[in-house]
């Protein structure tokens, strides 16, 4: 469904993505993980068409992303960022329906879809008339997901969507999100820096370091059969921080 073919990207001489190739099968979840600055967000933004690669190609549903095609290709994409990326001057509802309104959906179709999504994301209907600043962090995230799902795109791109949430809410959102992904059968690319979150969502994990793929596979493969010293360090560090968090 999504394919990256030898893509590279440099910013003022520094390669932030270096010859990366990978593909995501339909209805599977791929998680991009790695330390800060490894290029995982840049890769996701390439898939969203926000950045075009210097070399190589990004393909969504077998169409290459270019400055001409990207707005067409984006019809297949839903994009969710940290804190939802909601427009603060619009109500939750207006945020959610913005694309449908532009596509001139009839009001009852919009209404039905919003109700359906609110149910799916377990978002309280009375919250729909509120502005983002009147919602909790978790609620804002649910609205962001509803907005991304409104026109039913095949591919969902999520850039650290849960990073700003407190642990309890985050846990709850992780459960709900995985439920949504499997119910809808979407192709998902999910960026996180948390190995546990990656393990929870991923059909396949891609671990990046300095713009290159260090290893890909399941969480168990990364832990049991690290491809390099870096991979085992990264896995160990995640465990330690986890213990640290548990002790704290």
């Amino acid at each position: 469904m999504v394919r990256l073919d030898c893509v590279s990207k440099s910013y003022s001489g520094t390669r932030v993505v270096d010859d990366v190739s990978l593909s995501v099968e339909p209805s599977t979840t791929l998680v991009l993980i790695g330390p800060s600055g490894c290029g995982k967000s840049t890769l996701l933004r390439m898939v969203a068409g926000l950045i075009l690669p210097d070399q190589g190609g990004v393909f969504v549903a077998d169409r290459q992303m270019t400055s001409e095609t990207r707005s067409d290709i984006r019809r297949h994409l839903g994009y969710v960022i940290q804190d939802g990326g909601l427009f603060p001057h619009l109500t939750a509802r207006d945020n959610i329906i913005i694309q449908a309104k532009l596509a001139a959906w009839p009001p009852d179709r919009i209404e039905a879809r919003v109700t359906e999504l609110a149910e799916l994301t377990r978002f309280p209907v009375e919250g729909l008339t509120r502005f983002p600043a009147q919602l909790s962090g978790g609620q804002r995230q649910r609205v962001g997901i509803m907005r991304a799902l409104m026109t039913d795109p095949e591919v969902l791109l999520l850039d650290e969507p849960l990073a700003a949430l407190d642990p309890m809410i985050r846990r709850e959102m992780q459960d709900d999100l995985r439920q949504i992904f499997s119910t809808l059968g979407k192709t998902v690319i999910f960026v996180t820096h948390d190995l546990h979150e990656a393990a929870w969502f991923a059909d396949r994990i891609v671990l990046l370091k300095s713009g290159r793929i260090e290893q890909q596979g399941s969480a168990a493969q990364l832990a049991d059969d690290p491809a390099s010293e870096f991979v085992s360090q990264f896995v160990r560090a995640q465990r330690t921080s986890d213990f640290g968090a548990a002790a704290g």
Binding site: S71, R75, Y79, G85, L90, Q99, A133
Partner: protein, 509 residues
């Protein structure tokens, strides 16, 4: 849709003409009392001849008024031969009235016969003092011993002042002190000096009963008051000009001085004084209806609002799009902010004077009510705050929101009007508010080019040292600025989207 209506409304409001015709005679005056009184006389005489006549009071200094006459914004005004020869045509060798008339004719301007008084430098003494010493002429001063002269600093310096005077009459007073003109008057009345320099038609000559000494060796250049009027006007409004020209030779120095005195010392209005003179001199039945203070303020308010409306609204219509473009391209942003910033650094008076010929060149009405000069200056001043705040408001939008809009495939126009401008609305409105408040303040300077408004009473107040009159302009100007400020704060509640005003997190239960 509502936004388009607002923009349409602004457009209509900005460019709707104010119903005024230019089918009237336009008199101008310079920024001193005598000139204003003469302007009022011209106006009343012209009106009596049946033509609607406007008087652009205190239009400006010699240059501005003469230029306005030259380019046809003004039909007539009172000038002095000395000023014409020594200032306006100082680069030409003018030796006679014929020379002067020829020089003026080249510009399409005609000059009347002298009105009858010569407002030049002279020496003055207290009347009693002069009588006791039997001094009537300057040459008589040589017969009196121990005289103390107190002369204004400028007079001490000028070529046509003290040095030449002293030589021409062979004067050798006991002491000569250079001092401020107002202080000289005080010292004279206190008996600390005996002789001072005066202008021959100054009001205080009359009020303090000074004797003006005759310039029996004709040392001082003549500053005969004359009427300058346009050749075209003489043809188009011949009876109006004929009516005004009745003043030729009818205004003695004593009469003019008495008029000046009534305005400057007694506090009568120029209009009243002019009307009284005409009634006495020509038996006209000129009646004046003095507008009350409230009427005057109302008239100034209309003129002032007119200046603000016609400069601020176009500024908004141009500056917001400029700010949007500036936020799109960095180089264009630098360019636009640089240029609009430059306008702000030009002193307002200089900007007005620079724009005068431009307005005239464009065939716009450069002076008088609704002066394009003043409007252009205010327009240029209003641009920067709006451009800057629009630019800042747009570039400081969270880039994540811009990217969200992009991935959502929102069309460019929709993104700008429905997402970016609303998000920047607080900043844009505050720019407009700043521009409006500044504009209202600056608009008082419009009076310098005869545009009227609250600057008019301020200028007159300064000229007449009348604090009440100054406040009559300053207080309403301040009130208007505060009302505008408050108005924009109310507008903010409606124009800034509600969601942006929420800072408190209201988590639902």
């Amino acid at each position: 849709m509502s936004r388009i209506l607002i923009i349409l409304g602004l457009l209509i409001a900005a460019f709707a003409p104010r119903p005024t015709g230019r089918s009237s005679v336009r008199v101008a005056s310079k920024m001193f009392t005598e000139s204003v009184i003469l302007g009022e006389m011209f106006r009343l005489l012209s009106e009596d001849s049946g033509h609607s006549t406007q008087h652009l009071r205190e239009l400006g200094g010699t240059r501005i008024v003469f230029e306005s006459l030259r380019n046809g914004e003004v039909d007539l005004y009172a000038e002095y031969t000395g000023t014409l020869i020594n200032e306006l045509f100082s680069d030409r060798d003018i030796r006679s009235t014929q020379d002067l008339q020829a020089a003026l004719a080249e510009q399409g301007i005609r000059m009347s016969e002298p009105l009858g008084f010569n407002n030049t430098y002279a020496l003055g003494m207290l009347g009693d003092d002069a009588r006791q010493n039997n001094v009537r002429r300057i040459s008589d001063l040589n017969r009196v011993d121990g005289l103390r002269f107190g002369l204004s600093n400028e007079f001490m310096e000028r070529d046509d002042g003290w040095p030449g005077l002293k030589a021409a009459y062979g004067l050798s007073p006991e002491s000569v002190t250079g001092l401020d003109h107002d202080i000289a008057y005080r010292q004279l009345t206190l008996g600390l000096i005996d002789v001072m320099d005066v202008y021959t038609t100054e009001a205080r000559i009359n009020a303090l009963e000074l004797t003006v000494l005759e310039d029996d060796r004709e040392y001082f250049p003549r500053y005969d008051a004359v009427i300058l009027y346009r050749q075209e006007t003489a043809e188009e409004f011949s009876d109006a000009i004929a009516a005004v020209l009745q003043l030729e030779g009818r205004l003695s120095a004593a009469a003019m001085t008495a008029c000046n005195r009534r305005v400057e010392i007694d506090g009568d209005s120029e209009q009243q004084v002019a009307a009284d003179f005409l009634r006495a001199e020509f038996n006209t039945d000129t009646m004046v209806s003095e507008p009350g203070r409230m009427q005057r303020i109302a008239a100034c308010t209309l003129d002032h609002l007119e200046l603000v409306r016609r400069s601020l609204l176009p500024a908004i219509l141009l500056a917001v799009p400029l700010g949007v473009l500036a936020s799109r391209r960095v180089w264009f942003g630098h360019l636009v902010l640089g240029i609009t910033g430059l306008f702000q650094t030009i002193p307002s008076f200089a900007l007005l004077v620079m724009l005068l010929p431009l307005a005239a060149m464009l065939g716009l009405q450069s002076v008088g009510a609704g002066s394009a000069t003043a409007i252009m200056a205010l327009f240029l001043y209003s641009l920067l705050p709006i451009v800057r705040n629009t630019h800042t408001g747009l570039v400081s939008i969270d880039p994540a929101l811009i990217e969200s809009a992009e991935v959502l495939n929102l069309p460019n126009w929709y993104r700008l009007t429905e997402i970016e401008l609303p998000l920047a609305s607080r900043s844009i409105l505050s720019g407009i508010k700043t521009a409006a408040v500044m504009n209202i303040g600056f608009a008082t300077l419009g009076a310098l080019v005869g545009a009227g408004g609250y600057g008019q009473p301020i200028l007159s107040g300064i000229r007449l040292a009348d604090t009440g009159l100054i406040l009559e302009g300053a207080v309403p100007a301040a009130v208007m600025a505060m009302v505008a400020q408050a108005g924009f704060e109310v507008a903010e509640r409606f124009a800034v989207p509600r969601g942006l005003g929420i800072t408190r997190l209201e988590v639902q239960q």
